[in-house]
Symmetry: D2
Subunit: 228 residues, 4 copies
């Protein structure tokens, strides 16, 4: 199971974002603005920023997550979000003694493949261990490991990039494992920044339509929306 733990974050993230936003159009000092903003004003400011696409103030709040138990399939997708910081467990320096791996639901629900899948992965892991035992470097032995193998990493992402990444990765067109990952990220953010967390949504909620070729049904495609 994927595990996501928010291990650190900018305290008062929503107030920080609102303070920065307000400071751009106010003659007052920043520290004064921060002390005067009420929770209601903070929420209104965030709402207006999101509606008008003025997203840069969201960069002033960052969130650091420990992400454990995702496959290398998903970590490879995840690190494509370049406006974030990652420190990933190295397969060059950490030998994967326990062969934790991810099984897609489409495979675990098919009894004729479940055992074969498990055997293939265990066989690969055994060869990985055997090669290491006779002196093949772990960085090379790992070539035989399946992409299902689990990895862990520390990720820091600011609120602007979280909004962007969630707009793509909570879309049902994304792969199930990364959707699950970002659902857990959203849930961690909601605990400490409820308004922001609630705004981590697939892109269609922002656009008012689906911009993909085929819609999942939540929103009509842009073309369909027009002809209504």
């Amino acid at each position: 199971m994927v595990q996501v733990t928010l291990i650190n974050y900018t305290p008062n993230p929503e107030l920080t974002i609102a303070t920065a936003a307000r400071s751009s159009t106010s003659p007052s000092r920043v520290t004064k603005l921060r002390n005067e903003l009420t929770p209601k004003q903070v929420e209104n400011l965030l709402k207006r920023l999101l509606e008008s696409g003025h997203l840069s103030p969201f960069e002033h709040a960052s969130f650091t997550f420990a992400i454990e138990g995702i496959s290398r399939v998903t970590s490879h997708q995840l690190v494509r979000h370049r406006l974030a910081s990652y420190t990933q467990q190295s397969q060059r320096y950490v030998s994967l003694k326990e062969h934790g791996y991810v099984t897609p639901p489409t495979i675990s629900s098919r009894p004729e493949f479940t055992a074969k899948y498990q055997q293939a992965i265990e066989a690969a892991h055994k060869l990985y261990s055997d090669m290491q035992a006779t002196g093949i470097p772990m960085e090379d032995a790992r070539y035989v490991l399946p992409q299902a193998i689990k990895t862990q990493l520390v990720m820091t992402m600011n609120a602007r990039e979280l909004l962007h990444a969630c707009s793509l990765r909570l879309c049902l067109r994304a792969q199930w494992e990364i959707v699950e990952l970002f659902e857990m990220i959203k849930s961690e953010v909601e605990k400490v920044a409820p308004y922001l967390g609630a705004e981590l949504k697939p892109k269609c909620y922002r656009l008012g339509y689906c911009d993909e070729k085929e819609s999942c049904g939540i929103f009509p495609t842009k073309a369909a929306a027009k002809t209504k």
Copy 2:
């Protein structure tokens, strides 16, 4: 006077950096690592990362500053550091009623110019106000304002970029105002992250030589270092 206030930051910044670094070469869970690291281990880890140039874990700690009273000369230089987030007071939406401005020491120490400098700036500011009073938009009236005019902004920068920016901007080859600014930034960081703060140094301290054409004297140039 420039004023720099650290208004927010990732709590336990040094522990966060060290935890991320350690997690890349350890089979343990991230949360376990964080709980076990002693202050001495944290410092040793940071030291080793800096020596070997493995700087990416430093990205997991961010610092948010209110920067007030710098000239537009300096804010223009500052925002050239692209791996950071800025929200600057807008001259399109905030009318600069009080004409705060910066006077370089080379000018304030020259009596024959001090008054002229002041008059030129006040005349420009008066025209700025007069134009606005008769309907010229403030975004246009500001064209007449001198670059000495004060601005304020909120800046968030992670520890990796702080190391980089300080390596350039604490160099005596940088302009005096931005040197002052980064000295105050360093001083704010030192209050909450003493080891990291102490490591915010001009590039020559890291290199062991000066890589500019002429050295300020602290370290010899690379060429001079070789021939010793």
Copy 3:
């Protein structure tokens, strides 16, 4: 007058973008794909990428511009686009002998201010020269120069960021000088990449509505669009 000259660019920018995009979903080799794509297919691919917001392939084509004659007001705004590369003429190393400066139309159309504006700028420039003549460093003398003063820079931006920057800066809510600048940038791109150039448009054209509080009239606001 602002002058924008496209001094360099990735040859065949549209084919390059389309080739990259196609390669992500094709088993064929990249070089084969490139040789087989017809101009019509290239255009269709670009169209589909834009419609679905799959913009990363647009990063494979870059454009390098010489930008001359913009004010420091505008260069300060311009360099806030962080996903681009800038090399700006330094006021620390280049003495501004000729006092080129920008006059906003709202000022040049008001005879009662035109002369005053010109005099204020010329007085500032004269003080700038006088201070330098008696040994004040040009990096300090420039504090008295108005923000209207002209600067020049070399900018490289990839097509994805051009789409983004134009979506904001061709919006009539942006300041007139930066709108003019991006209109010239668009015009330069159109000469060598007509389809891409035509797609450099304000954000409302992409969204189908205006996401600002008040619309300029081209598209209704989101709220107004709904109630129709």
Copy 4:
């Protein structure tokens, strides 16, 4: 075998870099500077920029490569360089009919493992095909594929990031496959930009010492260099 093909690049990359650099300290127009720079001046300028670490002008030249035949081990490492653009062949949309895979030399040189390695990979690939044949989506079937499996991608990187990436990835401490990849990248760059290509070197050449814990022998460690 890895294959690297330079499919596109900014024409006259070295002249472009030198022109931008020169423009920052010259009162002349950019286009004039470009026409006047001699090849010798270009080389001298690039040399001085590299020596003093003034690297931003190198961003004005970009290189686009087709990279084919690398393992997913290496593509996962590669895309960690965030200041570049990637379009990678999708395992969600492209079924890997031919089971191309990479075999590390440490394995191919050990007869007792070569066959086992090959069998493990072929077994995994067969299961991948079988699962797909009965309706399991290819995006899920691929979890069983080994990390050795080949992938292809289009990468655009500017000269500044190439200098940085090569400083890390041509270091013998990097993994052999990514070292090979960057040797081929360097070789492609050398064909069209000989001076720049020659400067793509491991970091020790720039520093004058090895900053890792143990040196490969080319340069002494920093500590050893001091005690000499």
